[in-house]
Amino acid sequence: MKALVLAGGQGSSMAPFSQTRPNPMIPVAGRYVIDHTIEALRLAGVTIVNLVVGHKQEALRQRFSGDIHSEVKVNLVEQGKAAGIGGAILAARSQFLPGEHFLLVYADTLAGANIFSVTMQSFGISNEPTAAICLTQSAEKYGNVYLGADMKITKMVEKPKKAGLGNYVLAGVFALPTTFFDELEKAQANMEKALLTLIRQNSLRAAIWEDAWLDMAYPWDILTANKMIMDKWSMASIHNGVELHNTIIRGPVKICQGAQISPGVVLEGPAYIGAGSFVGHNTLIRPYTCVGAGCVVGHGAELKNSVIFDDSVIGGLCFIGDSVVGQGANIGSGTMTINRPLDGKKIKVRIGKAMVDTGLDKIGAFVGDGAKVGASNILAPGSVMAAKAIIPHNLSYPSRGGK
């Protein structure tokens, strides 16, 4: 079976990380989001993935340049000038033969287990277009659907204004016959319009998804996604060659090949230490921490519920909590992220021009790819650093020479 995965979007609310990469190339729980998706597709029986790329596509091109997923063939399709979801879907039309059916997947959504199998099962009952639907606490952001007793979607309202609606929403996963391309063309490449036509004809089925589901829209969603996947871990796995001396390991901790764990390190799972990373003496790694490949974590640091992308440096004696640190970033020693405001209010984060309420009471900092934070800095809750931005050392006694 084939899949059509849409990974060409801007995803600008994911700043600062979307400045430098497409959202599916964000790592969570030790793998890129796109890899989690393709693995789940493989388990659902998909052998060919047509991946529509656009925004910052180099990263995805590089990722799939070799034959990495031997069981799944990944075809890259250029989105080009085509606009919106509908445009992206039609851009890949030539990859499908008449009479086929396929899974359509929005690549910035992530589910706690195999949503694709469930959708295919539901599709298999009637061979009618099927949309996975799920419940979310922020239904006002999505297409809300009404469900009839026969599992047909009877009504759809895009982003209803009335807050507090507790509806099922579209989960960004569909099983469709190729005739859907015609429907979409008739609807001038407007996905919403095409779906509404199906609903009017009483031929859009629903597959109810009850496990965890996440639309990765904002930088703090990276932490939720990381937790969602790590919560499924039940066993520790430590690569054979990794030497441990006086290390305390609790719960499902994964340590990859070539990682160096210095004496006195405490690892509280679920946690992940990527290939070739170094963790200094007496460092405390607390649950839901993911340290990518090739990172350096200095001695005596404390990391909690944070995702550190590959090749980053966290200096000694840092506290990094509820934070995301981009690839190749450098956090100077003694830097603290403050993850809780004193007033106990929910934290707001600046995304573009807007202040967005995260609904969370603990958030640290979001440090873009390649950014540098000098030593001894204190980062406020919800602070956002652009890619490659620099904060100088916080010096109380500057020497004449350096900055």
Partner: protein, 606 residues
Amino acid sequence: MCGIAGVISLGEVAERLVKCIHNLEYRGYDSCGVAMVNGGPQVHVRKNIGAVGEVSEKERFSTLSGHTGIAHTRWATHGAVTKENAHPHSSCGADFSITHNGIISNHERLRSRLSRDGHNFVSDTDTEVIVHLVEDYFKKTNSVEKAFVAAIRELEGTYAVAMITSHEPDRIFCVRKESPLIIGLGADANYVASDFNAFIDHTKRVVFIEDDEYAQVTHDSHSIKSISTGEPVARDVLELPWDSEMAQKGGFPHYMLKEIYEQPIVVNSALDIDEERIRDLARQTVEKTLTITGVGTTFYISQFAQYMFSLYGGATPLALSSDEFRHLAQMGKESLVLAVSQSGETYDTLTALRHAQKLGASTAAIVNVMGSSMARMVDSLILQGSGPEICVLSTKAAMSQMIILTRIALEAGVIRGVISRKVANARIKDLRVIPETIERILNEKSGFIHTIAKAQSHINHWLFLGRERYYPVARESALKMKEVSYVHAEGMPSGFLKHGTIALIDEKMNSVVFMPPKEQKELYDISMSSVEEIRARGGYILGIMLEEKGKPPAIFSDVITLPKAPAFAAPYLQMVAAQLLSYFTAVTLKRNIDRPRSLAKSVTVA
């Protein structure tokens, strides 16, 4: 409670047989097995402990070759859950094999006699005596049929039995007494099973076997005879009105959710039941002294009906839990017992009806399963027409029962002259609004209720409170919570609270209050006073109420506001919200929703 099935065809039957018991798993699922004859001198048996999927893979059921087979999914009553105690059971010579659902009450006596005669027992079950008994008689008579009948005549207790033997590999022998068993007639195969769900994928044409009748089923024929006289019995073939699509989950993650979603349809069919039937039963409730009975959910539904009769029907009937029925029932010719049962096979309720009949009372029943024991034994019957209910928990069938009983109560009120026909019609019109309002609740409130269920899933103790007709709704809703989520919940009248139970309330005990609409002002006010009592003790309170003018009172911790609807429709709609609360709590706690631990769909044992 067990599920038995048999398939006979000219082709291989193993896979169909496995499917049959798979479909019967809700009747029991602690162990299972299959037996097959395929021309050899012995019956081949494979069995083990565990659910059907697991065991059939481990024991490779589908690789058993043969045209005639029986299978069983067990719910232990006699003997522990072990491989030896799993059915089918075979005779010493392995030439007979039997599956059984029910209880043989004289099995100990039979067992010691057979042991003395040299029979070797390998299990602790009551079932095994049947197969040794048949073997014993076969040695004397050299006729399978004669041996089968002679053996059955010796049995006391309740049973549905299916038997195959290598001596006559072209037929399945079966018999029933007070345990369900039906024959299914397919295009290329025939079936016997505890109920139609086993073979609904293959056929809807069924033949019912009555108590003390036995049948022989071949791949293209069936014959039924009386156990006592040996005379052939003619029985019509019935076409079940349910299609296989209806009996499947149809894409819903659980039967429970599917059945919750079917409630709009089910309410409509309950409202469409012929008025003459309702009037006829209502007339009987007026002419006689009425007792309504059920057990578990159906007892709470009976209690709800008690309120409706009292509020609109002009007299307060007795509502008895059928398991306690005979300890309380004082009745005679002037009495009418109205039983409520989804399956029509509920042991306690059947026993209550038999007791009532013995005392000379008339009987009536509201039943969902056509042709069930209860449907066949009562003087008057109303079939719910709710379609098969597969989830062990009753949702849509209970809703339908509430509607039907409300209709009877209103009609009784008209007959007695306590309400006018106009008022009754207006109330029925109110009920007509329920289907579309339920649809709105399901589509607009699911996420909100899911969110509450998730946020409160750490709570281990719940109180469900209501007054007047909302009280039985609270009890039924508490039972749903217990059954599906294994969380302790207690339903009680709000007024009862301050007489003791209030001592339990703290931040670890949540309350759900089924609020009456403001239209019932007095009731609304005293319900609010209970809420204040709980609030004063720091307990979390979830209010379930209709959307009305003004904001919902701020005293509640959370409020599930149901769409605007007539006041009369409130309790039915509140029940839907409570079903969703239990369902999502169970989903959050990852419970086995359609088959909760320790529960079986229709409880056919004492």
